[in-house]
């Protein structure tokens, strides 16, 4: 009940904010389209960062191919809404047009998410069975391969990119899905399933000794994370109304990693903070575009040396404000004598 009230409250607030920003609430007041776009893209990055944190931060496995799953979601949903958009809308032709469009968006996003999840399963099963850093290299390879494959499929535009889908996503939808992603990941992490993931992160052998099927848990966590990246891709495609494989290179994957590492691996609010910080910094440093990635990569190395946990570490923002939520600090190691 409490959750339902909270969900309705979020929807209402987002509708109001969307109206306010686009000038529909107070006549004569709206924010610039540039700023609105930055905020919307930041929302997509929040989805990407929070979902990647589920596998990288909470499960302790290292994936660097998030952009590949995002690409699958973007291309599948864009292809569907271009090719079958009219027919899907016709199914619910009795409803008003805005409802039709929302329905279409939900359908194509779901399709994109499912395809990304299937890809995540196919990549995850062979690489997650093993311990160690194989997932990193497999996902890096996969991200590049999927890009090359898309580039060679003429039905989705190949090197020309894919355009012509309707602008179904906006500030409201992006932040609705961002909120949903945060809610889902929070619920997962606080469930017994999530505790198991954290146990795997802390000590895989001990978790296995406790009877945890580690491969199963890792694969499920990876598939969920991939599906969310697919949704982010679908929103990205239907917000910009054009996608090109150049948007999904490994550079994009590394950007998402930088966001979650800056914010803190294993902290949901940290990921949100990292995503917002990253967008703010990149936009602020637009004049120094060529030095930007050099700076960020240097920051990554220095951060690992001086503060490997990122800004928040494993903690959430609220842990700093309400003491009762604070996770108990681990006891000091016993001195054996």
């Amino acid at each position: 009940m409490k959750a339902l009230v909270r969900a309705i409250a979020i929807v209402v607030v987002l509708i109001l904010l969307n109206a306010l920003f686009t000038g529909g609430l107070i006549p004569g007041f709206s924010i610039s389209p540039y700023f609105l776009q930055i905020m919307s893209l930041a929302g997509i990055n929040i989805i990407l960062a929070v979902s990647l944190n589920l596998i990288n931060g909470f499960t302790g496995q290292f994936s660097i191919g998030h952009a590949g799953f995002m690409a699958i979601g973007a291309y599948v949903s864009a292809f569907l809404s271009i090719t079958f958009g009219d027919r899907i809308q016709a199914l619910i032709s009795f409803a008003p047009e805005s409802v039709q469009k929302s329905g279409l968006l939900l359908v194509v996003l779901a399709a994109g998410a499912i395809c990304a999840a299937i890809a995540g399963f196919l990549v995850g099963v062979p690489s997650l069975r093993l311990r160690g850093d194989y997932l990193a290299i497999v996902t890096l390879g996969f991200g590049e391969i999927i890009r090359v494959f898309i580039l060679n499929i003429d039905a989705v535009g190949g090197a020309r990119g894919l355009g012509g889908m309707p602008r179904l996503a906006n500030f409201f939808w992006i932040y609705l899905f961002a909120a949903a992603t945060i809610a889902v990941v929070t619920r997962i992490v606080n469930s017994s399933f999530g505790r198991t993931l954290i146990a795997i992160r802390e000590d895989e052998i001990a978790a296995e000794a406790m009877g945890v099927n580690t491969t199963r848990h890792k694969v499920i966590s990876f598939v969920v994370s991939s599906a969310m990246a697919g949704i982010a891709g679908g929103l990205f495609a239907h917000y910009l109304m054009y996608v090109h494989t150049n948007s999904f290179t490994f550079i994009r994957s590394f950007e998402i990693i930088i966001m979650i590492v800056i914010g803190g691996l294993g902290s949901i609010t940290g990921s949100v903070l990292g995503a917002v910080l990253y967008i703010t910094l990149t936009e602020g440093l637009r004049g120094f575009a060529q030095y930007r990635m050099v700076l960020f990569s240097l920051l990554l190395v220095v951060l690992m040396i001086v503060r490997p946990g990122g800004i928040l570490g494993h903690r959430e923002l609220r842990d700093f404000f309400w003491r009762r939520h604070r996770v108990a600090a681990p006891p000091p190691p016993a001195v054996s004598g």
Binding site: G60, F62, I64, P126, S127, R129, L130, R131, G132, D133, Y134, A136, I137, V138, L140, G141, F142, E144, I145, V148, F149, N152, I205, A206, F250, F254, I257, V261, L265, Q290, Y291, M293, V294, F296, S297, L298, L300, V301, M304, I305, P308
Partner: protein, 298 residues
């Protein structure tokens, strides 16, 4: 049949390049249990060092002596770069969690790639020819002098490496460190020095690969290390990561199968083949061809 032998020669010469890079991955993995993501970028730096050195030496015609100077110079520069990377990026986090080490490696790789784009410019450069070239026809198979050089130089370097690891005191210490770092330390081996030497050796081999690829495919760009590094890593995993002969075997196999796929199927799948092999290896024989399965210990 002639086509097959032609493809085989092409594959072996590409495979030797992968093998040289894979050796660096496998040696570093052996001592630190770390996938050195920056290794592919060291290879790129080797190619660029070779490019600038040969531009500097230009004026006299391509000669064997000049080629040797370029090769050794690039190897020396990259050995120093490798030691610097180890000293300032990896050593401070060596005792930290493995994830921390991995992220540091990714950070170093990104740093080198982006700095290289800044310093060298993002456009590809064309490697000058280093040695006089000639083609030989053996039974209908065309052997270019570049291919022969690549295969010969890689072979010599691998034999030297084998000798170094198996016959010298330092090589013995390297094997000890890769067997058990802490025990090696207790036996009085200066592990820091051995790890630095491992990085220097691996980076020098990568630099040699960079110069050799410059001779064969004379187009170099700042991001060339990513895809070659990835394939070389797959080669190391295929042969058995941490296993030196395995890396050579894996490199030759990956190179040959890549050339065969391009020759007989389609060049579209050029980059997909290594990845497909990796998935198969992980499913069927995760320890690699020559590797031994390791028991998990607490």
């Amino acid at each position: 049949m002639t086509t097959f032998f032609q493809q085989l020669v092409n594959g072996l010469s590409l495979g030797s390049i992968y093998a040289l890079i894979a050796l660096g991955y496998t040696m570093v993995y052996g001592v630190l249990r770390l996938i050195n993501f920056a290794h592919g970028d060291v290879y790129m730096l080797g190619a660029y060092t070779g490019y600038y050195l040969s531009r500097k030496l230009k004026g006299d015609d391509p000669s064997l002596g000049g080629a040797l100077v370029v090769m050794l110079g690039a190897m020396l520069v990259c050995a120093i770069v490798g030691v610097i990377i180890e000293r300032f990026a990896y050593r401070p986090v060596r005792r930290a969690a493995r994830l921390t080490l991995l992220i540091t490696a990714i950070g170093v790789s990104l740093f080198i790639e982006n700095s290289a784009q800044l310093v060298f410019g993002p456009d590809p450069k064309f490697f000058p020819s280093l040695a006089p070239r000639a083609d030989f026809l053996v039974g209908g198979v065309r052997l270019t002098s570049e291919q022969l050089t690549v295969i010969a130089v890689s072979f010599i370097l691998m034999v030297l490496l084998r000798f170094f690891i198996m016959k010298t005191r330092t090589g013995k210490a390297m094997r000890a460190v890769s067997f058990n770092l802490d025990a090696a330390k207790l036996m009085g081996i200066s592990t820091d020095r051995i790890i630095a030497i491992t990085f220097a050796l691996g980076s020098a081999l990568a630099a040699a690969a960079g110069v050799l690829i410059g001779m064969q495919i004379p187009k170099i760009d700042p991001l060339m290390g990513i895809i070659y590094g990835l394939k070389a890593f797959v080669a190391a995993v295929l042969g058995g990561i941490g296993n030196v002969p395995g890396a050579v075997l894996g490199g030759l196999l990956i190179g040959t199968s890549e050339v065969m796929v391009v020759g007989y199927l389609s060049s579209t799948y050029r980059d997909a083949i290594a990845f497909g092999i990796l998935i198969l290896v992980l499913l069927l024989r995760p320890q690699g061809i020559l590797g031994r399965a390791q028991k998990e210990k607490v």
